[in-house]
């Protein structure tokens, strides 16, 4: 009974990895059979070897660390701005009247289209990359925070006023927790945009970071490093998603749809 349960559990844990594993196996087989040329797509073993070499040289860790630092810093700045704006506009009607339509206009500008302008403003330094990430991240956080605050059950707010909650208590105990599920949706969405923006920014003008590594690899036709970089994006994206899910489980334990079964 218990061993059967254990087996079932193990199978359940492994299930999400079955498809990626299958892809790698098929890919390796195709490469070994010579159906896919190494110039077009190097075998997984080749990619692993390239990864190992870069790892041993110490540059891979450094590039990932640099990219991660940029990503998180940009996320903190842009997310912070979006969060505060969303709260203010959601909480104070005059804030929304004053700012929301401007934000909506800004939101519809593809932020990557700003790259030429950003380079003119900030040059090709660190500021330009952080600026782009911050811009990209701010909007999804803003929209979901604003929406979350606005959609807090009016009945709960009314009830809270009859129980004599102060404005701060109302915000801290009712509005913020009520908006949290929506805010966290924004966070997950913004994490995706964060990586996307950073990689584009790094491939245009940088001398370090994963985006730079892949761009460099393209210059020198190192397809194995190129593919390695792409796999790293997938891995980092997955990592961000796992972190966001963990946050959801932690903060939304009260929510029937997020509670652990």
């Amino acid at each position: 009974m218990t061993t059967a349960n254990l087996k079932q559990n193990a199978l359940r844990q492994a299930a999400p990895w079955l498809v990626p594993a299958l892809i790698v196996v098929v890919w390796q087989a195709l490469s070994m059979a010579g159906i896919v040329a190494a110039r077009v797509l190097p075998a997984p073993t080749e990619v692993a070897r390239a990864g190992w070499e870069l790892l041993a040289a110490g540059t891979l860790i450094m590039d990932v660390a640099i990219s991660a630092r940029r990503a998180l810093l940009g996320f903190a700045i842009g997310g912070g701005i979006g969060f505060v704006l969303g709260l203010v506009n959601g909480f104070f009607p005059w804030g929304a009247r004053l700012l929301d339509s401007s934000v909506q206009m800004g939101r519809n500008i593809p932020h990557l289209a700003l790259i030429p302008l950003v380079i003119l403003w900030f040059g090709i330094g660190e500021t330009a990359r952080l600026f782009l990430v911050a811009i990209g991240v701010a909007f999804p956080i803003y929209i979901n925070t604003y929406h979350g605050v606005r959609s807090v059950d009016a009945g709960l707010i009314e009830m809270s006023t009859t129980y004599g909650l102060t404005t701060w208590q109302l915000f801290r105990q009712v509005i913020l927790p009520g908006a949290l599920p929506s805010i966290l949706v924004g966070v997950r969405y913004a994490l995706g945009i964060m990586w996307l923006t950073l990689i584009v920014a790094e491939s245009i003008a940088a001398t370090s970071g994963i985006g730079y590594v892949t761009m460099n690899a393209r210059e020198f036709l190192q397809t194995d490093v190129l593919v390695l970089g792409i796999l790293l994006y997938a891995l980092l994206g997955k990592l961000a998603d796992v972190a966001a899910r963990g946050l959801e489980r932690q903060l939304l334990a009260w929510h029937p749809s997020y509670a652990r079964a």
């Binding site: 009859t162 105990q173 927790p177």
Partner: protein, 269 residues
């Protein structure tokens, strides 16, 4: 059966209230004595919930005066607590923390005793989402009791419950009212509930008091007693605007759920 009361007097004088163009209350005068249990009944849209919200200070009248212990009502005053048709528990706070909502820091222990009073002492650590509808209303009642209010305003708190749970809750409300001695104002569309609980029944019709009836029955009340059914028929006839031989309109007791939704629309319009 006068208890030593902690309740406050509630007085409404010449209340008028309109929402945009719709007149809801047209000169309502109600005086409620300290510790009295008054039920306000009437058809959907008659203004009974509006009257209660004016008493709670959640809305302001267009003209006329509401006084609670001689003062104008103020939402958030610890004198008054209100129960709504839905329990309105904060889903992200555990049951015990919901009961302690708004309590001063030094009085958090009152939440535990209030929860025990409604028979849910052992559910304090649960999330509200796993409770049944009746249990949620019990928690809402405990939350209202925790701050020892001197008036409890009940806005159809049992309207969404099934018949058995409703009877149970009626018994509970009657018991805590007798123990605490607060003034209770119950808005309901259920005439039987009004006769079972209230010292006095006020029927609102077209924004005015159509009937103000004292219920002179000993507690706990026997729903099958002859006088009980007589009173029920009197009130029901007034509510429906009909004058039948008593007992002929018993089937019309329960309103359709659509009526409830309809009234909420009117209130928020």
């Amino acid at each position: 059966m006068e208890v030593t009361t902690s309740g406050v007097a509630i007085e409404a004088t010449a209340l008028h209230k309109a929402f945009t163009t719709r007149q809801v209350l047209l000169g309502v005068d109600v005086a409620i004595a300290p510790g009295e249990f008054v039920a306000i009944v009437g058809q959907s849209g008659c203004g009974k919930s509006t009257l209660l919200r004016l008493m709670a200070g959640l809305d302001t009248p267009n003209s006329g005066v509401v006084a609670l212990a001689g003062e104008p009502p103020r939402p958030g005053s610890p004198l008054v607590r209100m129960m709504f048709q839905d329990a309105r528990l904060l889903p992200w706070r555990r049951v015990i923390d919901n009961v302690g909502l708004g309590l001063p820091v030094g009085r958090k222990a009152d939440a535990g005793s209030a929860l025990a009073e409604v028979g849910l002492a052992e559910r304090g650590g649960d999330w509200p989402s796993i409770l049944s509808g009746g249990q949620r209303q019990r928690v809402a009642l405990a939350r209202a009791l925790a701050s020892r209010p001197r008036a409890l305003l009940l806005d159809e708190p049992l309207g969404a419950l099934d018949a058995l749970t409703r009877l149970e809750m009626q018994g509970l409300i009657e018991r805590v009212w007798q123990e605490h001695g607060f003034t209770a104002v119950l808005v309901t569309h259920d005439v039987e509930e009004a006769v079972a609980l209230a010292d006095r029944i006020i029927v609102l019709s077209s924004g005015q008091v159509a009937l103000d009836l004292r219920v002179d029955l000993p507690r706990p009340r026997d729903h099958a007693a002859r006088r009980f059914t007589e009173l029920k028929a009197t009130v029901l006839d007034e509510v429906l605007g009909t004058r039948h031989e008593w007992g002929t309109r018993m089937h019309a007791l329960a309103p359709a759920p659509a009526d409830i939704a309809d009234e909420r629309l009117v209130r928020t319009a």
